[in-house]
Structure formats: C-alpha cells, structure tokens
Symmetry: C2
Subunit: 185 residues, 2 copies
DNA sequence: CCAATGTCAGGTTGACTGATATGC
DNA sequence: CGCATATCAGTCTACCTGACATTG
C-alpha cells in the first residue's frame, strides 16, 4: 500500500485501447489485468487486517483449512492440494505456524511417510480473532453487491475448472457425480 | 505450476459452505478466494509464456507501458502510478530491464530529480515477440466468452474505483459522479 | 525397483520499511 | 523550509528446482 495517487482516468481502459490498436485479444488482456489488480486489492486488504496477528493470507488460509477439517489435522500434501500451493511452500507455511504455536506436527498413524499438521487450541483462538478482523473488512469487496460477487464466482469457476482445479461438481446442491471422465492431466 | 491433482469437488464451494456455518460474509469470502485463484491462473499462464524471453509479468507490463507511451519514455514515478507498484519495485524492475538492455535510463530534461526510463530498440523487439507469445495463450482465459470477460471487467472496475485507483471515467455513458469520498490514505 | 511424501539447500521475485542524496 | 524523486540497504514472503531420506 504505497503508491497513492489516483489517476484521472481508468488505466485498464486506456491500456486496452492502445492494445487494441496493434494487437489481438484486447478483451482477454483487459480482463487479465483487472484480475491481477483485483487480487492486489483483496490481498492488501486482508493482509492489513491480519498483520496485527502475525499472519499472512497464506498462513491464515492454512489455519482456516485445518480449523474446518473434521479432526483438526490434515496431511501436508492434502493441504497443498486444497490451497493450491507448492509442496515446499506447505512445509514453509507449517514451519511458521508451528513456530507460532498455532499448529503442531504429528505422525500419521498408519503411513509413516506422511506428516500431519494439527491446529492447536491457540490456533483455533487465533483463527477466530483473525476471522473477525477479516470479516470486518469484507475482504475489501464491500462495494460489490451479492449478485456481483456471484457473477465473479460463476465466471471464475469456469476458469478454475478449465485449469484443472477440480472435476465437476454441480454447483449448488450436494449431489455430486464422481465421474471418472476428464483426465485433466 | 506444481501441485497437479484435480480435486473431486470445487474447493471454494466447499470452503464457502463451511464458512457459512460459523461466520459471516461467506459471499465475500468465496469471491475473494476466487479472485486469488484466478490471479494465480493468469499469472502462471503468462509467466510461462514469458519465461523463454527472460521476462516476468511485472517487467513485461513495464515494457508494454513504455512501448505505448508517446515518446517511449516515462518518469519512474509515473510508471509506478500506472502499474500500481511500489517506488522501490519500479527501481528494481527498471534495473533488471536495463541490465537486459531493453530499457535505458535518461535524465529528465527539466526536472533534474526525476529519471526517465526509455525503451530501446531491443526492448521494442522483445515486446513484440513477448506479446505474440502472450496473445497465443489468451492469458489463460480462452474458455471465457467475451461477455464473461466483460462481466469481470465491469465488476472489478467498481472495485478499483472504490480502491482509489482512478477518479471517474465515463466508461460507456457520460454520467460520472466525482464522489469526494475514498480517502485511501 | 518404483512411487509417494516431506524436507532441505539454494536461487529468484516482488514488496515493504526506513534512510538518504538531490533538487524543486 | 517542506516536499518530491529516486535510490540503497536490509528484510520478508512465496515460489521454484533439484536433491535427498524414508517408507509404501
């Protein structure tokens, strides 16, 4: 959050105009740039809310994931899948959370290769306080209506599915079809 | 781009469900998470396309900005405003581009405090080649229709305006409301 | 033997804070 | 003088690659 200086015009609209003059895919370019900037705004908002608690967004997400899990613990690899982060990043994130006493490493009961990360009592308290702070910011999306948020979700969902994040899932209700189809590599 | 393993369900929908059970703002949470993931997808796609040319997305954007500028040069501060990056990051980015011979630093003709970054002939060639590679990927948004991209753009535009990125700009119609609000510090 | 799991070492990126030299 | 501009030093986060030990 430095660089404070509102421009007198929409920089993306301007970039799109110039782009369209020479190159293709100006629609995609404008959308991509918008996504990049939106992420910056959300991340800055949430990070600001979490800074006081010594958490980054990534560590907060990991903590929430464990908080939501049935046993309060998950294998590190599974955490990486869910959070879409690199295995070494998971190690790093869990290292920090463990150093803060918010998580602890356990041996998997049957598979001795895998390590479990388990949220501690302290971790659960911090999650609650952090979430209160984050919810108060509304993720920086306060100016959007529920319908607009849903629009974002719907469009981006297509993107995520195409990227191979998940297989299908019928959106709203709980009826899921395992479906062995779509080998997304 | 590691972590290959599609989940059998939509992880954001799942997180939203659990979130809604205990906390507020699950709509905002789902939208924010979607934005974070969308950015990851776009960034990974573009970075992959640019890797062969020794460019990151950030450096590519800076190069495009200079390529588009009337004189082929801009003050570093102005670049920071346009690209929404920290002043020290601009220095860093220009350092790297200069080391690659894609940009050169010049003295401002009248204000001796400011430094100009000017794109070189090499820089222009690289921009063209890089853009061809990027356009070929469609920014990873190939699966979206033009209408869906526009939806993203419209919703996110609201967000950016609220964040103080720019002031008004009449987009489609002429109705603009200056709005003295938003003291983004 | 091969595959999966987590970890470590080492490198890159970008973003931030704080301090500084210079010039308006 | 205060303010703007860019830079430097140092820190931090996250990511990646490649290697490795352990175990299924």
């Amino acid at each position: 959050m430095a660089t404070r200086r509102p421009l007198p015009f929409d920089p993306i609209a301007e970039a799109r105009r110039q782009w369209a003059d020479r190159w293709e895919a100006s629609d995609a370019m404008a959308a991509a740039t918008a996504i990049m900037r939106a992420q910056q705004i959300v991340l800055a908002t949430v990070d600001r809310a979490l800074a006081g608690l010594g958490l980054s967004f990534a560590r907060y997400e990991a903590l929430v994931l464990l908080h939501f899990s049935r046993r309060g613990s998950l294998p590190l690899g599974k955490m990486g899948d869910r959070l879409q982060v690199h295995p070494t990043s998971v190690t790093n994130i869990v290292d920090r959370l463990e150093a803060q006493g918010l998580v602890r490493r356990l041996h998997h009961p049957t598979d001795r290769r895998t390590t479990l990360a388990e949220i501690t009592e302290d971790g659960r308290e911090v999650v609650e306080r952090a979430t209160a702070a984050v919810v108060a910011t509304r993720f920086g999306l306060d100016c959007l209506s529920v319908g607009e948020m849903a629009q974002l979700g719907t469009v981006i969902r297509k993107l995520r599915m195409e990227a191979g994040d998940f297989l299908e899932s019928p959106s709203l209700d709980g009826s899921n079809v395992p479906g062995p189809s779509s080998g997304v590599r």
